[in-house]
Amino acid sequence: MSHAKLAEIFNKDEAKVNWHDKALWYVREKRDTAAHNVKGWEYLRDLASGIKANVLSNLDNYLVEFEKNAQSNGIEVHWASNAEEHNEIVYKILMQNNATKVVKSKSMLTEECHLNPYLESKGIEVIDTDLGERIVQLAKEPPSHIVLPAIHKTKEEIDVLFQEHLGTKPSNGDPQYLTNEARKHLRDKFLKADVAITGVNFAIAETGGFVVCTNEGNADMGVHLSKVHIACMGIEKIIPKEEHLGVFLRLLARSATGQPITTYSSHFNKPAPGNVMHVVIVDNGRTEQLSREDFRSSLSCIRCGACMNTCPIYRRSGGYSYNATIPGPIGSILSPGMDMKKHSSLPFASTLCGSCSNVCPVKINIHEQLYKWRQIITKEQKQPIVKNTILKITGMVLARPKLYAAFGISVRWMLKYAPRFMVYSKLNAWGKARELPKVENGNFDQWYKKRKNNG
């Protein structure tokens, strides 16, 4: 279903829309406060954008440099061209280590590759250890936001879920109680896991190391309690030097949640003695996006979610309306490149207000890329006949002043004289919830002509 259809369904429950909208606007406001407190915030954004531009223009060399340095520190590096290869590589590592229980911290990449269902089909237990992700995992739902995966769930819904799966007592959604119970439940999983899988927030070419940021400490709890650490990263997660982390770590959490930094920013360079570390570097459509001059900079994304929090459409339609692993504004410029047919409605799910581009820490010109995708999609995807015909005819009329003048007059006549039932029929989408403009007297052309004639 298109975004418009899914959003319409979401909007049937106005109270829920208001709740969802307010929750995310509150995060946006926290981001604003945090950004105001940083001297040189806009300069930081310029730097982050410039560093990522350099990265994309030198990506192959940085990846090779990263691999070399990582390997010299005892980290095994793998390369996966697509999701299938990624999943197979991860599974192979699990098999080599006789692993049947896996704990996983937040990684949108593994979500993109559908790693969990793949491993589960092979009899592996995968526990998502970020609390929000655990909640949606128990509910058998995908995450609806890349940073706040369970933002769409009320505490009462979570309470019922935990009663069923964790055996908690009914608590009317007491967040403290539920979090404490989840802590006990997840601790048990950490202690029994064979392998820990994490994402990568930033991989550093210069050192061969990488950084994982969490508030809960779940990535570290998983990694340091098992002997095997698999870190999955998209090719674009690389940054040139460790000093660049100064720029990105100052921007990331503030943009995402309004915190000055996440509780834990863990810097991995060498496996602990006796342990092993693997990094899986994944393409899965990224080199193809790299080839698209207009959309290349979307690869700079550091997955902060700020664009989702500010987007008035995302806040009122929810992540599921996008039907894409990454929803919201950034998802709408990444997804069409991966499957234009499935995601053709996404670039149109926007008023092009431009707020997303302004909150993006790496200054991706999201709203301009949305506009550009629209031009491509109308050419490459079959458009609804009515839309296509009306717009093409409009183009013809607007190029011919005399025809336009006649057209203008007939539209005005229709609005003025046609009976209400005709004008406000089911075909008139505007008229469903809004009145059409009232037409009085003449148009501007006629007024001007009259004034000119009167001297």
Binding site: L352, G354, I377, G395, K432, R434, L436, D445
Partner: protein, 245 residues
């Protein structure tokens, strides 16, 4: 200084009062204003819908009509933004480059080019300013709440000088109204919800008249206000600035 008056297509057809106010205002300011009668539309509705190729004809008509003026002034931030940003699809002849360079939204023209803010206007009402997105973030008519810039607002500079006006403060200072061109029709549910929320913000803050530099936004809000019989009205900023003695 020869000024070409650009009257956006929907203002011409549906809200001629706004065009009239704009012309009268510019003439009051002592300008030589010309209205090319062959103008049609800047092409924005097509461009935003993904049909910018099909809008080329309209864009060419625009350039033809306005190429000989020193300044092109229009009461619409989004249309002017479209001309400045998206006429890049035309061959960049001298005429096209000049038209793009010399096009101005009305408020910006008055404050930046004419250097005027007090226009002798009088409008004793509680007014809420809707900062339309393309004008705000596209043309940078003002600072926006999500960027860490020093505060400024071209529209407010003009409105503050209006006699008797009370500028009310909104809860969300610059959230989009949800019009978005054909978005208003193809994503009707969200568009309507966004508009309703904007209106509620103005109501919550005691606004009597919603104004702005883009009547497309105001048309959308007006449609909702009228359907829901809400005690507010909309008025383009040109009409407020022109409402004097």
């Amino acid at each position: 200084m020869r000024v070409g008056l650009f009257i956006p297509c929907y203002i011409n057809q549906l809200y001629p009062k706004v065009g009239i106010a704009t012309l009268e205002l510019l003439e009051k300011l002592g300008l030589d204003v010309y209205y090319p009668t062959g103008q049609t539309c800047c092409g924005q509705p097509l461009g935003n819908s993904g049909y910018e190729e099909d809008a080329k004809g309209a864009c060419q008509v625009f350039v033809e009509n306005f190429k000989e003026y020193d300044y092109i002034v229009g009461p619409s931030g989004s249309c002017i933004h479209h001309i400045k940003e998206h006429f890049d699809i035309l061959e960049q002849t001298e005429a096209v480059i000049n038209v793009r360079k010399n096009s101005y939204e009305l408020c910006e023209f008055i404050v930046k080019i004419l250097g005027k803010t007090n226009l002798g206007a009088s409008f004793p009402y509680k007014v809420g300013l809707h900062k339309s997105c393309h004008g705000l973030r596209g043309l940078k008519l003002g600072s926006c709440s999500e960027r860490m810039d020093n505060y400024y607002s071209t529209e407010e500079e003009l409105l503050k000088e209006v006699k008797g006006i009370e500028l009310m403060s909104l809860t969300r200072k610059d959230e989009c109204c949800g019009f978005g061109g054909t978005f208003s029709v193809f994503e009707e549910a969200i568009s309507v919800k966004m508009g309703k929320d904007r209106i509620q913000d103005h109501l919550d803050n005691g606004v009597e008249v919603i104004t702005g530099a883009d009547h497309s936004c105001l048309m959308h809000l007006d449609g909702l206000l009228n359907r829901n019989n809400q005690p507010l009205r909309v008025m383009h900023i040109a009409e407020i600035l022109n409402s004097s003695i």
